[in-house]
């Protein structure tokens, strides 16, 4: 049984201080979509409180309301027992609330100092403000392990440091309540541990912390209490010590979830793709991929693990024909690929390389295009869609799309609906159906389940395994370690544009991979 702590259920000890945050009856609708329904939440002072839920469960909306980004349609907010009207971020800051956003709210070309004082300047001229902030940062660094060079340009800092700047911004504004939205998505496990130490330190100083995440491991590791959201509602609030990951997962989804993928051992065949010394240089002249070599065999899933931004995107782009390589070679079934030119994705498809891109919004789909137009995007020049005089056969495309939507259970099953109007999971299924049904020899897959609900995740994982079982070669890039471990037959880890190590899934675990993701090979250093 889950011991649900409701407002009434909480023991009303007269002496104990009022909760840092008390939300009651919060509702918010965007058009016809009810993002938050009658939400109640109590967070005790000096605790770390987790909020978990699937994509679209309403976590971010709720926190945005608390931070004054949106105004709730209904409901009441009390901060430290005082009813508080939060109309904008200014009000939230005044109430002692600070927020670390999932996508950092930093000005990239500014220095750390400039970012910290932005909006909290002391006068019309910058000089005194900068001087004051400089000494404040020294103090904060000492108190909370938050060292950052105050004169560094934020855009040139590593992601972990940028996150520290976000935390410093909040602390500089003397925030007592700190909200962190998916803070570990861009961190290595080691960096995440460092962050958690900082959070523990903050808690020890009496700060209240709200941690929004979809990673149950983190909830179990650091929070005192945890709330679960589902479909805009707060379904439960429990003490972390009294729950388990599987129970939380069930609360999130509303049914029992298989956290494992059913798959038989791989039986790899011939080598389909050989990658040798592959390098890519970015637009700004900075190397993105540094001399990568690996083999990809028929009937195997090769997982590529790593923190986002360590060369995985460049790898997918160069293999998918979006980027050119600066050095190195790739052969497909013994035939060399021409890597010298960017924008050759069409040729790659002809050769039998499919590509499910990391970012379906930016690359994989044309959002204003209807489903049927998207269902052949990239293969629109296939002979079956052509008519004479350069015209295309819209009807053939429509029929083709109907079939895909049926076989991949894409809902709503309306090929005339625009891609933008499908849920994340169904959008991903459109891309997946398109790339899988072309029967590629090699399929490149990036972040197959990002922003996808749990039900669709299971389906997508099954499709990937089924494709492998047909003898296809699959290169799977994912920042989710669980996904990599569950699906891969072999794992390579990327760090700083290079391969930092290779593992078999049964011979490794999250700690081992986590160290590789930080560029440290524990086995080498042990030897």
């Amino acid at each position: 049984m889950v011991d649900t702590l409701t407002n009434e259920g909480r023991p009303a000890a007269a002496a104990s201080p009022p909760p840092a945050i008390e939300l009651s009856g919060i509702s918010k609708a965007f058009g016809p979509v009810q993002a938050n329904k009658d939400i109640a939440l109590n967070v005790a002072k000096g605790t770390i409180h987790g909020i978990v839920g699937e994509n679209g469960a309403g976590k971010s909306t709720l926190m945005s309301i608390l931070y004054g980004f949106y105004k709730a349609d209904k409901g009441e907010i009390k901060i430290n027992g005082v009813p508080t009207e939060i109309n904008n971020s200014d009000d939230a800051i005044a109430a002692g609330i600070g927020m670390v956003h999932q996508h950092f709210m930093l000005v990239q070309p500014f220095t750390v100092l400039e970012n910290v004082i932005l909006g909290a300047e002391d006068g019309a001229l910058l000089k005194p403000s900068l001087a004051k902030a400089r000494s404040a940062l020294v103090q904060l660094a000492k108190d909370y392990e938050l060292e950052v060079d105050p004169d560094a340009i934020v855009g040139e800092l590593a992601v972990g440091f940028q996150q520290r700047v976000e935390i410093l911004k909040a602390l500089y504004r003397s925030a007592d309540i700190l909200i962190l939205d998916e803070p570990t998505g861009v961190l290595t496990p080691a960096e995440a541990d460092h962050l958690f130490r900082i959070l523990e330190g903050l808690k020890a100083q009496g700060k209240t912390i709200i941690l929004i995440t979809h990673k149950l491991r983190e909830i179990m590791a650091i929070t005192d209490t945890v709330s679960v959201m589902r479909r805009g509602e707060m379904t439960a609030t429990v003490k972390t010590s009294e729950t388990s990951p599987s129970e939380l997962a069930e609360l999130m989804v509303g049914r029992r979830v298989l956290l494992q993928v059913d798959k038989t051992p791989a039986s790899p065949g011939e080598t389909l793709m050989e990658v040798r010394n592959l390098s890519v240089i970015g637009d700004n002249g900075v190397p993105r991929l540094k001399s990568i070599s690996f083999d990809l065999r028929a009937g195997e899933i090769l997982g590529v693990a790593g923190v986002a931004g360590n060369g995985q995107s460049a790898l997918l782009e160069v293999l998918g024909g979006i980027e050119a390589a600066s050095e190195g070679s790739v052969t497909l079934k013994g035939q060399p690929l021409d890597l010298s030119h960017a924008q050759t994705a069409g040729l790659r498809r002809e050769k039998g390389i499919g590509h499910v891109p990391e970012d379906r919004h930016r690359l994989g789909l044309i959002m204003p295009y209807q489903a049927w137009e998207n269902a052949c995007f990239g293969y629109h020049d296939a002979p079956e869609f052509q008519r004479s005089f350069g015209l295309i056969d819209n009807r053939a495309m429509l029929t083709d799309a109907r079939g895909k939507m049926d076989r991949f259970d894409i809902r709503p099953q309306d090929p005339n609906l625009k891609a933008a109007n499908f849920s994340g999971g169904n959008q991903q299924k459109i891309v997946l159906a398109r790339e899988i049904e072309r029967n590629p020899d090699v399929l490149l897959i990036g972040q197959p389940t990002r922003g996808v609900d749990i039900g669709a995740i299971e389906f997508i994982h099954q499709q990937i395994v089924a494709l492998r079982d047909q003898g296809k070669a699959i290169l799977l890039v994912s920042v989710e370690l669980e996904e990599i471990l569950a699906l891969s037959d072999r794992i390579i880890v990327m760090f700083d544009g290079k391969i930092s190590g290779e593992r078999l899934p049964e011979q490794t675990d999250e700690n081992d991979l986590g160290l590789l993701m930080a560029g440290i090979d524990p086995r080498e250093s042990a030897a």
């Binding site: 927020m99 709210m105 932005l118």
Partner: protein, 342 residues
């Protein structure tokens, strides 16, 4: 080429660079705050008209019974010119507000809004000029109190004797209307505002990442409107200079002749930096001065036609945009309306 010709060319460069520089700095403030402004041209044109019209009216003598076509004005002295400038600023700022309404409040397309403002200015100025003065869309010639006189800088005559620097000071820098000095002064002032004040910090931030500004508790909308209004003031000065400070001495149809667009090209060339903007505008001014001084260049076997020399500033604008800009990175949030993300 004689030394005197060089001095005259530089003098002319300064005059021709002034409207470009004012417009370029106007664009700088707007685009640094993330609002693209292709409507500099229209704002200048509107200001040129409004200032000339008001100055002409204010300077004209008050008449009991004016003949048709005659204007009965206020009969003011030098204050007429001042009133004219204020009217120019008002006209330009009004169009700025319109651009702000379209691109900030209503999140419309900034390019299209700018284009519309250019046409609006082109149509309305002539329409109103015709309605008021019935002179084929022109204002009357500005005379007396309606004009700005040239200022001789202190010690110009005394220093003339010093070789090289003396003539440069006395013949090139000295002896211009006030607008030219305002424009030159606007460069360090803009730099100081943008990089040394709280206002400038916020303005630049809003052009790079409005989300960061919003979450810091500052209104993106207010910050952007402020930038757009400054843009209006500077465009207003540029326009007022064209109709009141140059030998044109009055408004004529389409008198801006693409300067607003050349200023935009200069802005890109200057990579959105004030001091570089000065350099870029002086370069464009020099090009215009050269094409103005040498309508036909006789190369012996071949005469470069005057049409080519007249087209030269436009051609060179394209050449500079194409070849010498290198990788110019505009403010990241430029041209994109700010919408709080869901």
């Amino acid at each position: 080429m004689e030394w005197v010709d060089v001095l005259r060319l530089f003098d002319s460069t300064l005059r021709l660079a002034t409207p470009l520089l004012l417009a370029c700095l106007a664009g700088l403030f707007s685009e640094r705050a993330g609002i693209f402004d292709i409507g500099l041209e229209g704002k200048m044109l509107a200001a040129a008209f409004a200032s000339a019209a008001v100055a002409a009216w204010a300077a004209a003598p008050a008449l009991e019974n004016p003949f048709p076509g005659e204007i009965s004005g206020l009969g003011l002295g030098w204050t007429a010119a001042l009133l004219g400038v204020l009217a120019g600023l008002a006209a330009s700022m009004l169009l700025s507000l319109l651009h702000g309404l379209a691109s900030i409040t209503l999140r419309g397309n900034q390019l299209i809004s700018g284009v519309a403002i250019n046409f609006l200015a082109a149509g309305l100025t002539v329409l109103i000029a015709q309605d008021l003065f019935s002179r084929g869309g022109q204002t009357p010639q500005l005379t007396g109190g309606a004009r700005f006189t040239e200022i001789t800088l202190p010690l110009a005559e005394t220093l003339r004797g010093i070789p090289f620097i003396g003539p440069l000071y006395a013949d090139v820098l000295s002896g211009h209307v006030i607008f030219i000095y305002i424009a030159l002064l606007a460069v360090p002032v803009s730099w100081w505002i943008l990089f040394r004040t709280r206002f400038g910090l916020r303005l630049r931030a809003v052009g790079e990442n409005p989300g960061a500004v919003d979450t810091a508790g500052i209104s993106v909308t207010r910050q952007r409107y402020a930038a757009v209004l400054i843009c209006g003031v500077l465009c207003g000065l540029a326009g007022a200079y064209l109709s009141m400070g140059t030998s044109a001495a009055g408004f004529g149809r389409d008198m801006t002749a693409g300067r607003g667009f050349i200023a935009l090209a200069a802005l890109i060339f200057a990579k959105w930096r004030p001091w570089s903007a000065l350099g870029a505008c002086l370069l464009f001014g020099l090009l215009q001065a050269i094409s103005g001084y040498y309508p036909k260049i006789d190369l012996g076997i071949f005469v470069i036609p005057s049409d080519f020399m007249e087209a030269l500033p436009y051609i060179l604008t394209v050449v500079i945009l194409a070849g010498f800009v290198g990788k110019a990175t505009p403010p990241k949030a430029g041209g994109v309306p700010y919408v709080k993300e869901r």
